[in-house]
């Protein structure tokens, strides 16, 4: 019997495509963000709040992943930005190839920020690199504050955690300080924002976070010789 060392990533094909996407985003100065949460935590609502409040001149585009229906895309189209649904037909996460395919007819030079709304799921999307600059995990106050400890992978891999639906805090037993402490136990460097799309609290800080990240993406863009 002999043993052949393989020493490769199981998802190396996904990672290869994600690497190509990341290089393209960098080249065009496009900030790509991958929004991940459980179903119903408020990804589409956060996108509505974003598209409604984005500063003049910042060009956003959205890819929305769902197992079935184009409802999220339909909700977001009224803001006038390009929105395209990715219907996975059963797959519980988006992968890099799906992103690549759906970007084929979009001009990245005309997109400053590409927001990807992943399929509602806190587990599987954590494994798939989409070429994004940052994963963002959402946790709503109607969930348990121990979710970061139960689903450490996605909190560990996200640069930002957004605690959503904070207008409901008076009505639910959610301990927001404990939730934030749990997120930092899993990932000490994680950034945290508190947002209510209903009251508008925190939206300004979120937009500021986006603009700061977009400025970083532009600064990292290779200098054109033309």
């Amino acid at each position: 019997m002999n043993q052949v060392p393989l020493e490769q990533k199981v998802l190396k094909e996904n990672d290869r495509i994600a690497g190509e996407l990341r290089a393209r985003f960098l080249e065009h100065g496009t900030l790509c963000l991958n929004l991940i949460s459980a179903p119903g935590s408020g990804k589409t609502s956060l996108l509505e709040g974003t598209l409604a409040n984005v500063p003049c001149g910042l060009r956003l585009a959205v890819l929305t992943g769902d197992i079935q229906t184009q409802n999220d895309a339909n909700r977001l189209r009224r803001f006038g930005f390009p929105v395209k649904p990715i219907t996975t037909g059963g797959t519980c996460h988006l992968d890099a190839q799906m992103i690549d395919r759906h970007l084929a007819d979009w001009d990245l030079d005309a997109i400053d920020v590409l927001m990807i709304e992943n399929v509602g799921n806190l587990v599987c999307p954590a494994s798939y690199d989409l070429g994004e600059a940052a994963k963002i995990v959402l946790l709503s106050v109607t969930e348990g504050e121990d979710k970061p400890l139960k689903y450490p992978s996605i909190f560990f891999k996200s640069k930002l955690a957004v605690i959503t639906k904070t207008d409901l805090l008076p009505y639910v037993p959610f301990d927001i300080a404990q939730a934030e402490e749990n997120a930092r136990r899993v990932h000490p460097e994680i950034e945290i924002l508190r947002i209510s799309n209903t009251s508008g609290d925190g939206i300004a800080q979120w937009i500021a976070w986006l603009e700061e990240r977009r400025a970083q993406a532009l600064a990292a863009q290779p200098v054109s010789l033309v």
Binding site: E7, K9, V10, D95
Partner: protein, 120 residues
């Protein structure tokens, strides 16, 4: 839930490797799965068995090596296993330590048996 896709990727890699060793029979593929990889080992075994049943890889065994989260200490250089989200250095007690590993989803090796002795 995505373990079917992971199992399929493992089998694709196995088939690609076996194409380079035509006179051999694959016995065991070893993968490393970190505790932060978001992959459930039982579910992966189940999917792997379902995908290999009735195929030329039906006898292939999937060996999973679980990998704990490891951190290292910038103060004293010690590397240690993190248990129960306690990141303090186990040697010097430093509070802020750095991630080293624990999100692996890697193919380690493929063991195979050569046909040559039996077919000679």
């Amino acid at each position: 839930m995505h373990e079917v896709g992971i199992a399929n990727s493992i089998l694709e890699a196995t088939r690609a490797e076996m194409a380079r060793h035509s006179a051999a029979r694959p016995l065991r593929i070893t993968v490393r799965i970190g505790e932060l990889a978001a992959v459930d080992p039982d579910s992966l075994q189940f999917c792997f068995a379902a995908l290999t049943r009735g195929t030329e890889l039906a006898a292939l065994e999937l060996k999973i090596e679980p990998c704990p989260r490891r951190n290292c200490c910038p103060a004293c250089g010690a590397e240690f296993t993190v248990a129960d989200y306690d990141f303090r250095c186990t040697q010097c007690g430093e509070e802020r330590t750095e991630f080293v590993s624990g999100d692996q989803l890697e193919l380690a090796s493929l063991e195979m048996e050569s046909y040559e002795s039996s077919t000679a």
